[in-house]
C-alpha cells in the first residue's frame, strides 16, 4: 500500500478513473449518472447523500466502489435506538488484562453506507457528521484518525417520513452532493433482470466480477490530482455567481452558503477529470449545480404550495444566470 505512485501523471489518473467507472458500470446497471456522481464525490473527497426508494442498488454500488479500489466497506442501518457508540465504537473492560480495550465501530472503514440516516436521533447523526467533517473518531476522549479515503454514503427514503429525524440544514451542508437515484429505464431494467437471474441463485448481483483497478492508497493521489485541475477565473466567477443568485432568487426562502461554491468547484474539477479533461469548463459547473445545491436551498412556502420542485426551481434559476464572459 505504501508503494503508491505519487508521481502519477494526469493521463494515468484519467485512465484509472475511467477504468473504475467502467468496472462499477459492469455490476451496477442503469445508474450511470449515480455512478458518476459518487465517483465525483470520492475524487473530490466529499460525502454523498443518496435519496431514492429502496431496492435500487445502493448497497451494491458502495460494495462495487469498495471492491474496485480494494477498500473496506461498512454499513450501518440507522434506527431510532442507535447510539453514537454504535457508530464510532466504544471502550470495553477486559477482565483478563484488567484494562479497557477500544473496540472500533463500523466508522473505521473506507466507505460507510449509512442507511436511512434520518431514522436515528440527532445525537447519533451528529456523531457520524463529526467523523465526516473532522475525519477523526473520538472514543472515550481519545481521537483516532479515520481511514483514508473516507467517504460516507448516507441514504434517505423520500417517502415514509413518519417518525424520522430530518437532518437540519447545517448538517445537510456537510454532504457535498445529494444524489437522486431513480428507477432504471426499460432497457436497462431488462438488462438488470437478465444479469441477476441468469445462472444465479440469489437475488442480488455479486461484485465478484469487478476487478480491482486502483489501490486504496491511490485514491488520495487521485484526489490530489483532482484538486489541481485547472480552473479559469471566469469559471470561478460563474460558480460563485450561481450560488449567490440562489440567495436572492424568489423561489428560495434561503439560498446556499459559501460551502456550496466550494463544493461546486471541487465537484466540477472531479467532473472534468471524469470527462478526461485537465481543465474545468462552465459546463462542468452547470452540470454539478443540481446535485451540489438541491439540498442546500429551501423553497418558499408559496412555491411549495404551487408544487414546484427544488430541481425545477434550480433549473429556472440557471436559465437566468449568464454563462461566463471570457
Amino acid at each position: 500500500m505504501t508503494e503508491a505512485a505519487p508521481t502519477m501523471t494526469l493521463g494515468d489518473a484519467i485512465a484509472r478513473v475511467h477504468r473504475m467507472r467502467e468496472q462499477i458500470g459492469r455490476v451496477v446497471v442503469g445508474q450511470q449518472a449515480v455512478i458518476d456522481q459518487v465517483l465525483i464525490a470520492l475524487l473530490a473527497s466529499g460525502h454523498v447523500l443518496v435519496e431514492g426508494v429502496p431496492g435500487l442498488g445502493k448497497t451494491l454500488l458502495v460494495k462495487a466502489l469498495a471492491k474496485c479500489f480494494e477498500g473496506h466497506f461498512g454499513r450501518i442501518q440507522f434506527t431510532p435506538d442507535l447510539m453514537p457508540s454504535d457508530v464510532t465504537g466504544h471502550a470495553l473492560y477486559d477482565m483478563k488484562t484488567e484494562q479497557f480495550k477500544i473496540r472500533k465501530g463500523p466508522a473505521f472503514t473506507h466507505l460507510l453506507l449509512a442507511d436511512e440516516i434520518n431514522r436515528a436521533p440527532a445525537k447519533t447523526q451528529a456523531a457520524l457528521l463529526e467523523v465526516m467533517q473532522e475525519k477523526q473518531i473520538t472514543i472515550e476522549g481519545k481521537a483516532f484518525p479515520a481511514l483514508t479515503p473516507f467517504m460516507v454514503l448516507a441514504t434517505q427514503n423520500p417517502i415514509e417520513q413518519e417518525g424520522t429525524y430530518p437532518l437540519p440544514e447545517a448538517e445537510l451542508d456537510r454532504f457535498m452532493l445529494k444524489v437522486q437515484i431513480d428507477y432504471p429505464d426499460e432497457a436497462e431494467e431488462q438488462a438488470l433482470v437478465r444479469q441477476v437471474t441468469t445462472g444465479r441463485v440469489q437475488d442480488t448481483l455479486s461484485v465478484d466480477a469487478i476487478e480491482t483497478v486502483v489501490k486504496a492508497a491511490d485514491i488520495p493521489v487521485l484526489q490530489g490530482i483532482t484538486a489541481n485541475i485547472r480552473v479559469d477565473d471566469a469559471v470561478f466567477d460563474y460558480a460563485v455567481r450561481i450560488v449567490r443568485t440562489s440567495r436572492i432568487w424568489h423561489s428560495f426562502s434561503h439560498g446556499a452558503g459559501p460551502r456550496a461554491s466550494i463544493a461546486l468547484i471541487r465537484a466540477a474539477r472531479a467532473q472534468a477529470l471524469l470527462k478526461q479533461r485537465d481543465f474545468v469548463t462552465p459546463d462542468d459547473v452547470k452540470q454539478m449545480v443540481l446535485p451540489v445545491m438541491r439540498h442546500r436551498v429551501a423553497l418558499t412556502a408559496e412555491m411549495e404550495i404551487e408544487g414546484l420542485k427544488t430541481d425545477q426551481a434550480l433549473t429556472q434559476m440557471l436559465q437566468e444566470v449568464e454563462a461566463p464572459r471570457v
Partner: protein, 523 residues
Amino acid sequence: MDLSKITARVRPRNPYEAADLGIVMARQWFRPLMLLWLLPSLPLMLVLYGIFHAQPLWALLILWWLKPLFETLQLQFIAEALFNPDARWQDFAKKIPTLLRHQLLAKLFVQRWSLSRSFNMPVGELERLGGSQRARRLSTLHRGANATSIWLTLLGTHLEALLVSALFLAGWMLVPVEMSVDFEIDDLLGSPLLFPTLAWGGYLAMWIIAPFYVCCGFMLYINRRTWLEAWDIELTFRQLAARHAAPHTTPTRTLPVLLLGTLLLLPLAQPSPAQAESSAPARTEAASFTPEQGLQEISDILESEDFNQIKTKQALRWADDSARRKAELKGEDKGLLSDLGNWLDDFFKDSPGFKTTLDWLAAVPELLEILLWGLVIALFVILIYRFRDFAIPGLRRQTKTARTIPTHLFGLELDQTSLPDDLIAAARTLWQQQRPREALGLLYRGALSFLVFECNLPLEDSHTEDECVTLCGRKENPARADYFRRLTAHWVRLAYAHQTLGEEDFTLLCEQWPNFAHSEVAA
C-alpha cells in the same frame, strides 16, 4: 292531437314548473330521444369530421347549425308520445322525410337564430303554421312564457359548455396524484388533440342536452296553451260528457252533475281562445266560425262591461311639481320660502350669465354620454391591442417570432454589424499578429452570430458552450454541427485551459468556414 289521450296531468302551471315537467318527460323517454338524435347526426358528424379533420371545429359548427333538423324529430316523437301513447315506431319512421323537409330553409336560416327556439318550434312543426300566421301566433304565445324560453336556451348553452369543460376536468382528475403533470396553458392550447377533443366533446354535450331542451320548450308551449285555451277545464268537461254518454247505470247521481256542468259550460265555453288552433274535433261550431267573426267577437267581449270595470285606488305618491308651480304662479301659496324662491328665480333670470350657465349645464349630460362612449371605445381598443397576439382557434396567422435575439453571448458581441465583412481575412490577420485568442474568438463569435441570426437558433445568455453545441447538433445539418463542435472544442481549450491550437487546425477551420456559413445549407 287528441287532448283526451294526453298522458300528462293538465293544469295551468307557472313556466318554471312547466320546464320542470319537460325534464321529467325527457327522462321518461330518454333513450328513444337520444337515439333519434344520434342516428341521423352521428354519420353526418363522421363525414364532416372526415372532411374537416384538419379543422374539426368547422364540423362541430356545421352540426350545431343543423341541430333544428334533429330536434324536429325529437319534438315530433315527444308530441306523439304525449298525445298518442299507442303510436307505432314504424308509422313514425315513415313520416321522417316529410318532417325533415317541412320548412327546411326557414328552420335553418330564419328560425335558427331565435333565442326561444325550442318554444317556437311546436308552432311550425306541430301546428304547421308559417309566415305571418306563425308570427302572430308566436306573439300571442310569447306573452308570458318567452322569458323562460330564452333562459332555457341560455341555460342549455351554458350546460353544454360546462359539459365540455367537465370532460377536460374529468381527464385531469383521473391523472393519479403521484404523477406530477406540469403543463403550460400554451402547451394545452397548442396541443394537436385540443380541437378534436373540443369537437367531439361539443358533439357529446349537444347530444346529451338536446332531449331536455326540446322537451322543456315543448312543455312551455303546452303550458302556455293550457293557460290560453283552458285545456284543464275542457278536459274536465270531456270527462263529464264521456261519463254522461256512458250507459245510465246510476241516473240519480248523473243528473245533478250534468246540470252543474251545463251551468258552468255556458259562460266559459263561448269565448274561443284568440287565434288558437282548434284542436278538438268535437268542437263542431268552431268550424263555421271565420277568423273575422272571431276577432269581432273578441273585441265585443273586450268592450263589454266585464272588462271595463273602474276601480278607484288610493295611494301615496310624490306631488307633481308642475302642478305646485302652477299653483304658486297663481298666488295660491305665498309663504316666505316661496317668496325667496321666486326672488332668486327672478334674479337669475335677469342676470346675463345665468342663461349661458343653464345652457352649459344642459350640455353636461350630453358631454357625459360622449365621454362614456369614448371610454367604451377606448376600452375596446385597449382590449384588442392587449390581446392582439391571442391565437384564435382555426385561424392561422403569420406570426413573427418575438424571441429576443441576444446581442451578447459569453461576453462576445454578436451583432452582425460588429463583425468585419471578411471574417476569415480578419481572423487570419490576427493569427499572424500572434493573437490567437482574438483570432479564434472572432471565428467563434462569427459562428454564434451566424447561428443566431441566419439559422434562428434559440440561443440564450445562460447557455454554456456545450449546450450550444448540443442545440446546434439537434437543429442543424451534421456537417455544420460537426464544424461548430470542433470550433467550440478549440475555443473552450483556448479560453479555459489557455492551450493554443495548432497552425494547421486554425487553417483548417478557416478553410472550412465557407461550408459552415452558407445560407443555402441553412435553409
